[in-house]
């Protein structure tokens, strides 16, 4: 179990940095262990600094930067162990237009090995999807499905 955890950790470390630099077009990111010599007991710390800034702790990141950093961690894990499917509920809401586009491009790349279901109000994310389902309540309180073909 120990060797397995260490190997996974190394993979996630590399994956996180790779995805972070893609989403932030540069910058520095790192996963560090602290608090104990034994990797199975240690705390997992995340350090992230967008390009050109001199930040240290992730508490100083902005709302959008935090969303991108957490997304980089998630997709870094998927590089090591792809999940069969993934549901993302309005996680593009805090992102500006440029970051939404980078996020969608990455979603498309990962959708080769993972099925994504994305809930969004953002038009750019809708355009990036392969198919669209509309959920409406023509009668109040009763949800119906409307398939909006998009191709």
């Amino acid at each position: 179990a120990r060797a397995m955890f260490l190997e996974t950790l190394e993979g996630i470390k590399k994956g996180f940095v790779q995805i972070f630099q893609r989403l932030f077009i540069g910058g520095e990111a790192e996963i560090r262990l602290s608090g104990s010599e034994d990797p199975l007991e240690a705390e997992i710390d995340i350090l992230a600094t967008p390009e050109g800034k001199s930040m240290k702790s992730i508490t100083l990141l902005s709302g959008g930067e935090k969303t991108l950093t957490a997304t980089a961690l998630l997709f870094g894990i998927y590089l090591v162990k792809p999940a069969p499917f993934c549901v993302l509920d309005e996680i593009d809401a805090p992102l500006d237009d440029a970051n939404v586009q980078r996020f969608c491009k990455m979603l498309k790349d990962f959708s080769v090995s993972t099925q994504f279901m994305v809930i969004t109000h953002n038009k750019r994310t809708m355009e990036a999807a392969d198919r669209l389902y509309g959920v409406t309540m023509e009668q109040p309180g009763i949800s119906k499905l409307v398939s909006v073909k998009f191709d």
């Binding site: 992730i58 999940a83 549901v87 959708s111 994305v118 969004t120 109000h121 009763i142 949800s143």
Partner: protein, 165 residues
Amino acid sequence: MYLSRLEIFGFKSFPQKITIEAGSGVTAIVGPNGCGKTNVVDAIRWCLGEQSTKTLRSEKMEDVIFNGTKGEKPLSMAEVSLIFSNEDGQLAVEYNEVSITRRLFRSGESEYLMNNRTCRLKDITDLFLNTGLGADSYSMIEPKMIETILSEDRTIRRSLFEEAA
């Protein structure tokens, strides 16, 4: 193995059966506020065995059964099915298609089914072991979770890493 479709009937705001074809790539779900999009996410979590009413935004498990509106009567059962294609044989069953179903009756009785035969929740969790799929897996993300993944309380991060190992 991939998800081919999702069927919801009587769960939360879906009194009439709906089917969502998953397909490959990215499927977007859109619509006005309060019309039932996040209820679809709750349906998936529930079908995979979610036990926490708080995660399902309910006070008691019965709240997931369609509760009626001004015009419609409440239903007495909620049922959600996830149908997977298993042509690659990743799931350790000899079928090409595997469906898992969860049902709850107002009486409190609940059941799980695999390919329409009743089974235990443990059979379902065993089936998906090591695939990265599960009610509490890191594959269902909402904005509130962004705070927890990066938060000071490192236990959540640790469980993310351990799950991947």
